[in-house]
């Protein structure tokens, strides 16, 4: 089973963010790096889904006043998630072998 494109983006940005990976930051990270608008609903439901699949784990963090006393939920990529990312990358790289030049010429 391969990861969907958006799932990959979410997982990768969680890895990039390290300890700071909670909803707001994940969204900002994806938007900053891909230049794509991310719908909050899509992000949160994807987070729920990949957590249900065991690709990420989450812990409840501290609550602050600016959040109305509601705690943050920090995500981390699980070993299974890392494995899925690796498999995805490998598959994609294999597929890309030998065509990068051709494609860049066309581009």
């Amino acid at each position: 089973m391969f990861l969907g494109e958006f799932e990959q983006m979410v997982l990768l940005s969680i890895v990039q963010l390290g300890d700071e990976a909670y909803g707001v930051k994940v969204r900002e990270e994806i938007e900053a790096r891909t230049g794509r608008d991310v719908a909050r609903g899509a992000l949160y439901t994807t987070l729920d889904r990949i957590e249900a699949k065991g690709l990420v784990t989450s812990v409840t963090g501290d609550s602050t006043a600016e959040r109305g006393g509601r705690p943050r939920r920090y995500f981390a990529v699980s070993p299974a998630g890392m494995e899925a990312l690796r498999a995805s990358r490998k598959a994609l790289l294999n597929l890309w072998t030998g065509i990068e030049e051709a494609l860049s010429e066309q581009l």
Binding site: Y22, R40, G41, D48, R49, R67, P71, R72, R73
Partner: protein, 917 residues
């Protein structure tokens, strides 16, 4: 970070708390609040932003939750769960196949259900099409609801719907403010010559604002303009009544197609008719016609429109049916306001003109749409109500079938439930089968509906507006599709509900007596409903049948046998004076009399039941009773002297009119009908007395009067409705008042149409350019007068028959079911020595009992409805004999439907029956 204390919308937060799942709630709301805090803008924009985010999040999560729940229910993979769409497709295909196979294995059930539904859907869709396209679809004019017909009401003459004369139209155009345009239209028929074969056309004379007021632009060319108006000095009217300049004209679309093969170069062409030249300036929209009440039909059928070349003030009212005035309500004006202004204007007119005061001149503005369809609204809505009843009966039948089938499938369903078939799965199967049945039913219905529409289009009464344009359009198809959907639900949900009540243990254990009993009682209710609906339809059909019988029995006072009618409409350009018209009519009469096979020639305006309104009315007064009776109303009919003899109107006293009475320069004499004679001279001394006849007839001006001697009394004749008396008639020799129209009545020695060729050649010899309109037997008019009632009767009777048949099938099915259910009990009874007659009585009793209950309910409903709605549908309520006949019919049919199951009951073999369970 942000010192401003911007508070997030509390309600939005509250909403999110409700919509988000607990696991995600705090983190998501917290994130949103954090972003809100960091937003850097305050006040309304920030709050609006928060609301937008909250709604989108909430929506997303709700959808997510719903789809997950649905997935769990269906056993399908939910959102994000692994799925195999190929397997799913295979599963769906298998389910389709299974449903089809099951239906194919029960051909009797499937066929009955499909045909029954097809009948219901087809009939309802067809009638819906008629109602929709005749009554509901707006006329193809701009804002048609704002158009009004302006009727000339003469309150002192009891005349309701006369045409507005030219001078009054002119007066309105100059003075009215609540109408944005007033149009006058009148129609003549004429022969178009010049290019190719002469062709008879209906020429509609209009004021230049005609198309503008209707709000319709031509397809090619242009509309009339005020500057197009060519005015001919009315002084030349008596001599050469033509304009030297061509009159601008706009062709109808069908004329353009027919005669000019849609050639755009037709613009600018010159046409000729009776010495007048016309120049084509435009072609009207496809299908454009003036929608008119049926008695103004000649106005609706124009082939070309052209401008009236004389001052409006000189436009004399022609034969009533050929003239009308229309107006458009000014923007922001209500009908009441417009009527109020009209009342003021007509009051002023009455004040300044004695002629207007004498007739009680008023103008009534009636919405064009209402006026055009009002005569069919009642019957059509009645038919629609009837077809809904048919649909109800059909739906009940199918529901009953499904219920019965469900019972026989009880074991199967129970087994499947016990083996873990989910309720959803069984429901889906049921819905699939229902879908197949109702879609097949819809296909049958579609065929039936288009057949039905074809029949209605060709046999429907011509007085129904737009009937000739009927088609199964998108709206009708949509309606049919909607019906099909509803039927699917009805048919599909019943087994589903059964499943939900199925207790596998009880069913597989062999007994589910309670459930079956409840099922039987719900079927009983359905059958009673069916019978009730059938009774209502039968009572309705019976009432119309009685009405029709009255129509058949009615004696119109004349005989249409072997009478040919010929309508002659003289073009006034060619026959401008009364004398020239009278001379022509006489010459034609003499020539017709010489045609072989012709026995008697007469003429009248208009011929009975021709759909034209009364020609004109005037007042009469008895000379020696002026003080006593005052003014009264009679209809004046100019006739050719042979009229009464030609159609067999009985002479009661004195003599009929002769050619000598019609000679120029004689003193006016008249013949009156029996009622008039008796009311004026109760001692029977009408003949020899005289009537004062008031102008504007007999060449008299309005207000003048002349004495006319009554030389004969004839039997009463009904001209407009075979069942109703018209106002009394005074028959006048036509020379004293010749209009442009004459309907010749030609009695023949054999088949009336056998002299048609001779009649045509005589007319062509006298005036080659004269169009021949309506050369047809008088009997056609007589049967046409009965057509609307016959049509309603036929459709209603068909509906009632279908409903009765379906009810019989429903009752039969129920009793078979009931006998089967009681096989065990019947077996015991037979074993214990029960008399077969008792068993028959038991089953018959059940069937008849249900029928009688349905009969009572249906009769009560029918009585209540017809009493309340009869005026609405312009019908008479049914009388006791109708109810009696319906009751006998229902009991008979119910008895027949019960007889076979009753026989089965006696043939139960106790051994088999007791072994069966």
């Amino acid at each position: 970070m942000n010192p401003r204390p911007v508070r997030p919308p509390v309600v939005a937060v509250w909403l999110l708390e409700r919509l988000l799942p607990r696991s995600a709630r705090d983190a998501v709301i917290g994130d949103l609040l954090e972003e809100f805090d960091d937003l850097g803008v305050g006040g309304v924009p920030a709050r609006r932003w928060f609301w937008a985010q909250a709604l989108r999040l909430g929506g997303r999560y709700s959808w997510f939750r719903l789809s997950t729940r649905f997935a769990r229910l269906t056993g399908r993979p939910g959102w994000g769960e692994p799925s195999d769409s190929a397997a799913r497709m295979r599963g769906a295909a298998a389910e389709f196949k299974l449903a089809l196979r099951r239906l194919a294995h029960q051909p009797a059930f499937t066929t009955t259900a499909v045909v029954t539904l097809g009948l219901g859907i087809g009939a309802t869709t067809a009638v819906f099409s008629v109602v929709d396209q005749v009554l509901l679809e707006p006329f193809p004019y701009r804002n048609p609801a704002r158009l009004v017909i302006l009727w000339n009401r003469m309150t002192e003459r009891s005349i309701e719907r006369a045409a507005l004369a030219g001078p009054d139209v002119r007066y309105l155009q100059d003075n009215v403010t609540n109408l944005s345009g007033v149009v006058s239209i009148f129609a003549t028929s004429t022969n178009l010559t010049g290019e190719g074969k002469p062709v008879e056309v209906v020429l509609s004379w209009v004021t230049p604002n005609f198309f503008e007021v209707l709000g319709v632009d031509p397809v090619i060319g242009r509309n009339f303009r005020a500057s197009d108006q060519v005015l001919v000095d009315p002084g030349v009217f008596e001599g050469q009544a033509t304009s030297e300049r061509p009159l601008p004209t706009i062709l109808s679309h069908s004329m353009w197609l027919r005669r000019y093969r849609a050639d755009p170069a037709v613009i600018g062409r010159l046409l000729h008719a009776n010495g007048q030249t016309f120049r084509v300036i435009g072609v009207a929209q496809r299908g454009f016609r003036l929608h008119m009440p049926p008695d103004r039909d000649v106005l609706a059928e124009a082939d070309l429109w052209t401008l009236w070349p004389f001052p409006l003030a000189d436009m004399a009212p022609g034969p009533d049916g050929s003239m009308v005035a229309l107006g458009r309500l000014a923007t922001g004006t209500s009908l009441e306001e417009a009527q109020g202004e009209l009342d003021n204007l007509t009051a002023a007119r009455r004040g300044s003109s004695p002629g207007h005061a004498a007739v009680g001149f008023t103008i009534e503005a009636v919405p064009l749409v209402t006026e055009t369809v009002k005569h069919v609204t009642g019957p059509l809505m009645g038919l629609f109500a009837a077809v809904i009843l048919v649909l109800l009966v059909a739906a009940i039948n199918v529901a009953g079938l499904v219920l019965a089938r469900g019972t026989s499938r009880g074991t199967e369903l129970a087994l499947r439930t016990a083996l873990g078939g989910s309720r959803w799965h069984l429901l889906r199967q049921g819905m699939l089968e229902a879908l197949f049945i109702s879609v097949a039913g819809a296909a049958v219905g579609l065929v039936l509906a288009s057949l039905g529409l074809e029949v209605i289009r060709t046999t429907g009464p011509l007085t129904v507006p737009r009937l000739d344009q009927l088609s199964l359009d998108v709206r009708a198809l949509g309606f049919g599709a909607g019906l099909t959907g509803v039927m699917t639900l009805v048919v599909g949900l019943i087994p589903a509900l059964q499943v939900s009540h199925t207790s596998p243990a009880a069913t597989l254990g062999g007994r589910a007596p309670y459930r079956r009993r409840r099922l039987a009682s719900s079927r009983r209710v359905l059958v009673v409903l069916q019978v009730a609906a059938s009774v209502m339809l039968l009572v309705g059909a019976g009432a119309v049948l009685k009405q029709f019988a009255r129509l058949i029995d009615a004696d119109p006072g004349f005989s249409s046998e072997d009478v040919l009618t010929l309508r002659v409409a003289l073009p006034f350009f060619a026959y401008p004076t009364m004398t020239s018209r009278a001379d022509f009519f006489d010459r034609l009469s003499d020539s017709l009399q010489a045609v072989p096979g012709v026995e008697q020639v007469g003429g009248v305006t208009p011929v009975p039941f021709s759909g034209d309104s009364e020609n004109a009315r005037s007042t009469y007064t008895a000379e020696d009773a002026l003080e006593e009776w005052g003014d009264r109303i009679a209809i004046y009919r100019p006739i050719m002297p042979g009229f009464h003899a030609s159609v067999g109107v009985a002479l009661i006293a004195g003599r009929l009119l002769t050619n000598a009475d019609n000679a120029p320069g004689t003193d006016p004499v008249v013949v009156v009908d029996r009622r008039l004679g008796e009311s004026l001279w109760p001692d029977g001394m009408a003949v020899g007395n005289s009537l004062w006849v008031l102008g504007p007839h007999f060449g008299l001006q309005s207000g003048e009067r002349v004495l006319a001697e009554v030389v004969g009394v004839v039997d009463d004749v009904r001209y407009t409705d075979p069942t109703r008396d018209d106002p009394s008639t005074v028959y006048v020799p036509h020379r004293f008042w010749s209009g442009e129209l004459m309907d010749y009545t030609i009695r023949t020695s054999g088949d009336p149409l056998s002299v048609a060729a001779g009649v045509r050649s005589v007319v062509a010899r006298l005036d080659p350019e004269l169009p021949i309109r309506d050369l047809r037997p008088l009997g056609d008019f007589v049967s046409a007068a009965k057509a609307p009632t016959r049509f309603v009767l036929t459709v209603l009777a068909a509906f009632a028959a279908v409903a009765l048949l379906l009810s019989a099938v429903g009752l039969y099915g129920l009793l078979v079911f009931s006998v089967r259910r009681r096989t065990h009990e019947l077996g015991i009874r037979v074993a214990l020595g029960a008399e077969p007659t008792r068993l028959v009585g038991m089953v018959l009793g059940e069937g008849l009992g249900l029928a009688v209950v349905g009969l009572a309910i249906g009769a009560a409903l029918a009585f209540g409805l017809t009493t309340a709605a009869a005026p609405l549908f312009a019908a008479q309520p049914a009388d006791p004999p109708v109810y009696g006949v319906v009751a006998v019919l229902i009991v008979l049919v119910a008895g027949l439907a019960s007889a076979i199951p009753a026989r089965w009951a006696t043939s139960v073999d106790p051994v088999t029956a007791l072994k069966a369970e």
